[in-house]
């Protein structure tokens, strides 16, 4: 849901960033603003969480880690990995 809602914002940034040098700088300025930085952390978290749980689901589809115990463990791993990548992102942009 969140990724869906962030789509127009991201395309807008792509749009202005390709409208010439001034647009590129304007897009960078936007990315520096506090609210967009905060939003980017939330977007990064949802994206990484989605990515890791997606990989987990694909692995389960091809019969990797189907047992309940393994599935529970990989679910936690996906949760933690998503959070860790969001924190790494936060650390990177600060």
């Amino acid at each position: 849901m969140l990724m869906f809602l962030s789509l127009p914002l991201l395309i807008y940034l792509l749009d202005i960033s390709l409208q010439g040098p001034a647009g590129f700088d304007r897009a960078l300025d936007y990315l520096q603003t506090g609210w967009l930085r905060a939003a980017s952390v939330i977007i990064a978290w949802s994206l990484f969480h989605h990515l890791f749980s997606g990989i987990r689901n694909l692995l389960i589809d091809i019969d990797c880690g189907v047992s309940l115990q393994q599935a529970r463990r990989s679910a936690w791993l996906a949760n933690i990995a998503g959070l860790a990548m969001a924190l790494a992102w936060l650390w990177w942009i600060l």
């Binding site: 849901m1 749009d15 040098p21």
Partner: protein
């Protein structure tokens, strides 16, 4: 509204697009991490390189399909009345079509 084959087709679509989206995203992140574009020219040249333009246009299409199947499933699960369902689905479809045309129009003219 749905025929029996749609479930499997969508399931497959969702997985194929997922693999492409995942690979492309990881590629993007590696590129940005190793060499973030410093100015407009670098950024423009990188993204309008024909291979990159085609790959990112395919990314947009895959993203729209993947997003549509996902959002539609959420709506079918959580919105129970038919009218509201149609309304919400139409709005989402409009946003997706709009975003898709917008993004392709940004990415594709530069490729020529």
């Amino acid at each position: 509204m749905s025929r029996p084959t749609h479930g499997l087709r969508d399931w497959l679509l969702q997985r194929f697009t997922a693999v492409y989206l995942g690979c492309f995203l990881v590629y993007l992140m590696v590129c940005f991490y190793r060499q973030p574009p410093r100015d407009y020219q670098q950024w423009h040249d990188w993204i309008t390189h024909p291979a990159m333009a085609i790959a990112s246009a395919a990314f947009i299409l895959a993203l729209l399909v993947h997003g549509w199947v996902g959002m539609r499933d959420v709506v079918l699960d959580y919105v129970q009345t038919l009218r509201l369902r149609l309304l919400v689905l139409s709005l989402i479809a409009l946003v997706f079509i709009g975003c898709g045309l917008w993004a392709l129009q940004i990415l594709l003219p530069g490729a020529g």
